[in-house]
C-alpha cells in the first residue's frame, strides 16, 4: 500500500513524534517498503482462524489482596528530569 506524507504526519502525531522534514522523507519511503513487504501475509488464507494473543492459555491470574509497602516516593521522584520532592513537574496543561 502507498504510505503518504499525510499518513506519516498522522501517525507521528498519534505517536507524539515530530520528525524534521529530511527524516520524514526517508521514513516515508522506508515505511512504504516495510509495509509493502508485510502484505505477503495476504497470501495466507486465515478465514476462521482465531487471533492468538498469548501462546499459553493463561487467564486472570489472581492472588490474595494484601497490603505491602509501596515504593518510596522520594526515591521514585528522584529519577524525574524536573526534580520536586512531591510531584512530577510539567508545564501548565489546563487553563
Amino acid at each position: 500500500m502507498k504510505i503518504t506524507t499525510e499518513l506519516v504526519d498522522y501517525i507521528s502525531e498519534l505517536s507524539r513524534l515530530s520528525l524534521p522534514e529530511e527524516e520524514k522523507a526517508a521514513m516515508t519511503a522506508q515505511l512504504e517498503q516495510i509495509v509493502g513487504y508485510m502484505d505477503v501475509l495476504n497470501r495466507l488464507d486465515t478465514a476462521g482462524v482465531e487471533p492468538m494473543s498469548h501462546v499459553f492459555p493463561l487467564k486472570n491470574v489472581l492472588r490474595e489482596d494484601e497490603v505491602v509497602p509501596s515504593q518510596d516516593r522520594t526515591e521514585l521522584l528522584a529519577g524525574a528530569p524536573a526534580p520536586d520532592p512531591e510531584a512530577f513537574l510539567v508545564p501548565k496543561a489546563v487553563e
Binding site: 522506508q30 513487504y37 515504593q71
Partner: protein
C-alpha cells in the same frame, strides 16, 4: 591473556570453591580485561561496587551453594539494577538509576553473582547488529570491522572476548541467539514465562524473555537454574519444575529425534553456514539420535508477523518515555504536548522511531484488521506449524542466521534487509518456545557460525542436553578470538570425522 579468563563459569566457580582463586582476584581480572577491551561491550562499569561485593562474597564462601558463586558477569542494560544506571542504550533514559531491581538480576545476586557492569545493546533492544546504541556500536571480537549481532551484542562480545564468564541478555526476536552465533558463544532464549520479566524494560511484552550467554551449554544450564522460577510480579510467569537443568546434562541423547526443517535450508542461506549446521546433525547422529527431515511451510510469514506484533507492542510500551517520569527531557518546549514531542523526537534514535511509527500504523483505525489482527491470526498458524513439527521430532535444528557477522555500517541503511536476517529466530518468540544457539564452525573469514536448537514448551532440558552432547564431541565452543581456529580436537571421540567436516575454515 590470563588462562583463568578462558575457563567456563562452572570451572571458575569450582576453582573459587576449592580456594584456587579468590573472588576479588577473578573480579579484578575481569574488570581489567573488560575496561581495556576495544569492543565497546559495556555502557557502565560497576568496578567499585563489584570489588566490594567480591570481598564480601569471599568472606561467605564456605556457605556458598550455587556452582556460580563468586563468578563475575555482565547484565544487559535493559535490565533494571537498583541504583545503577540503566539506559537501554537510549538517550531518552539519560542517567536513569532504577529505584528497584529486576527479578532476574536479584536471583543471580542471591546466587552469588558479581556484576562488573551493564552491557551495550541496540537501543531498546531494537536492532540486529548493536549499531543503534546511543553509546556507539559494539565491535565483534573475532573481527573488529564487523558487528557482534544484536540486540544483546554487548553481552555476546563481552563473553566471547573473555571480559567476563557469562552475561545475561534478552531475546524478543533472536536478540540472544543471533549475537551468540555471530560471536561464537552459547545462548538460550527460554520458554516464555519461565524467567520473570519484572524489571526488564519492555520492548514487546508478549515476546521478551531474559536468558544467558555463556561459554557452553553447561554454563547456560547452571545460569537458567538460577534465573527460572515463578514470580508473582510478572503476570505471565508460569509454574514449572525448575532448577534441575545442570544435573540433567548426561550427554545421553540416544533415541532423540532431531528434525531438520528443510524450508530453513533453501535460498538465502550462506553455503558455509548451511554445511556447518547440517554437520551438527551428523555429530548428534553418531551419539545415537535419529535425524528426520520435515517441512515447516510458514517461513515466508514469520518476519512480517513478528515485526507487526513487536512494533505494535513497542509503540504502546514506549509511550511511557515522555520526559516527565524519568530520564532525559528536551529543552525549549512550549507547553506539555510540545514537551512530549520534543523529548521523544530528540530522545529516540531512528530505528526506535521507525518501530513506534510502524506499530502505531498497524494499530490505527482503518489498518488494525488488515495488519495487527491478521498478524495475530498468522501467529496461531505458526504456533500450529510448530505443534505439528513436534509430533514427528523432539528438537528442531535450523540455522540461527542466514550469514555470519556482517561488516559494521552495512545493515543500517536498509532496515528491511536487517529485519529479513531475523528469519530463523523470530518464530520461536512468536510461539513462546525455548531456543538455543551454539557454535558449530567457522566460515572462510574465520567468523563463528551458530546452529540453533528449538524445543517444545519447557523443553530446555532436552535442548541443553543435546547441545551438551554436541559440545562433548566438538570444541568449537572452546575457541576464542585470537586463538588458533583450526586446531585438531584434543580427544579422539567417535565423531572425529564429523569434526573434520565441520572444520571448513581450511
Amino acid at each position: 591473556m590470563n588462562e583463568l579468563l578462558d575457563l567456563t563459569a562452572l570451572e571458575l566457580g569450582a576453582a573459587i570453591k576449592k580456594g584456587d582463586v579468590s573472588i576479588p582476584e577473578a573480579t579484578v581480572l575481569a574488570l581489567n580485561a573488560a575496561q581495556c577491551a576495544p569492543h565497546n561491550a559495556f555502557i557502565t562499569f560497576t568496578a567499585e561496587g563489584a570489588i566490594k561485593r567480591a570481598e564480601e562474597l569471599q568472606k561467605g564462601l564456605k556457605d556458598a551453594r550455587s556452582p556460580l558463586y563468586g563468578v563475575p558477569m555482565g547484565i544487559k542494560d535493559n535490565i533494571c539494577t537498583r541504583g545503577i544506571k540503566t539506559s537501554c542504550a537510549s538517550k531518552i533514559l539519560g542517567d536513569f538509576e532504577p529505584p528497584y531491581e529486576a527479578t532476574a538480576s536479584a536471583r543471580l545476586t542471591e546466587a552469588g553473582a558479581v556484576s562488573i557492569g551493564k552491557t551495550n545493546m541496540d537501543e531498546f533492544a531494537m536492532g540486529s547488529t548493536t549499531e543503534t546504541s546511543f553509546y556507539g556500536p559494539v565491535k565483534n571480537p573475532w573481527d573488529l570491522s564487523r558487528v557482534p549481532g544484536g540486540s544483546s551484542g554487548g553481552s555476546a562480545a563481552a563473553v566471547a572476548a573473555r571480559c567476563c564468564w557469562y552475561a545475561i541478555g534478552s531475546d524478543t526476536g533472536g536478540s540472544i541467539r543471533q549475537p551468540a552465533s555471530y560471536c561464537g558463544v552459547t545462548g538460550v532464549k527460554p520458554t516464555y514465562g519461565t524467567v520473570s520479566r519484572y524489571g526488564l524494560i519492555a520492548y514487546a511484552s508478549s515476546l521478551d524473555q531474559i536468558g544467558p550467554l555463556a561459554r557452553d551449554a553447561a554454563d547456560c544450564a547452571a545460569i537458567l537454574d538460577v534465573l527460572q522460577g515463578r514470580d508473582h510480579r510478572d503476570g505471565t510467569s508460569l509454574d514449572g519444575q525448575y532448577g534441575h537443568l545442570l544435573e540433567g546434562l548426561t550427554g545421553d541423547v540416544r533415541g532423540l529425534k532431531i528434525g531438520i526443517p528443510t524450508d530453513c535450508f533453501g535460498d538465502g542461506l550462506n553455503a558455509e553456514v548451511r554445511r556447518a549446521v547440517l554437520a551438527v546433525a551428523d555429530v548428534l547422529k553418531s551419539r545415537g539420535t535419529e535425524v528426520v527431515e520435515l517441512s515447516f511451510p510458514v517461513m515466508e510469514y514469520v518476519v512480517p508477523t513478528y515485526y507487526i506484533i513487536a512494533a505494535a507492542e513497542a509503540s504502546s510500551n514506549l509511550s511511557r518515555f515522555d520526559g516527565v517520569k524519568y530520564g532525559w527531557r528536551a529543552e525549549g518546549y512550549d507547553g506539555l504536548t510540545d514537551l512530549y514531542n520534543k523529548t521523544r523526537t530528540e530522545g529516540f534514535g531512528m530505528e526506535v522511531k521507525r518501530r513506534i511509527l510502524l506499530g502505531t500504523f498497524v494499530l490505527s483505525s482503518g489498518y488494525y484488521d488488515a495488519y495487527y489482527r491478521k498478524a495475530l491470526q498468522v501467529k496461531a498458524v505458526i504456533k500450529e506449524a510448530f505443534d505439528r513439527a513436534f509430533e514427528s521430532c523432539d528438537l528442531l535444528l535450523p540455522p540461527v542466521a542466514p550469514t555470519t557477522a556482517p561488516k559494521l555500517g552495512e545493515s543500517l541503511s536498509d532496515p528491511l534487509q536487517m529485519y529479513l536476517s531475523d528469519v530463523y529466530t523470530v518464530s520461536v518468540n512468536l510461539a513462546g518456545l525455548p531456543g538455543l544457539s551454539m557454535p558449530c564452525g567457522f566460515d572462510s573469514h574465520g567468523l563463528p557460525i551458530g546452529a540453533q536448537l528449538i524445543g517444545p514448551h519447557f523443553g530446555e532440558g532436552r535442548l541443553l542436553n543435546a547441545a551438551h552432547a554436541f559440545q562433548l564431541d566438538t570444541d568449537w565452543h572452546r575457541r576464542r578470538p585470537g586463538g588458533p581456529l583450526s586446531q585438531p580436537a584434543a580427544d579422539s571421540s567417535p565423531s572425529g570425522g564429523a569434526k573434520a567436516e565441520g572444520g571448513i575454515t581450511a
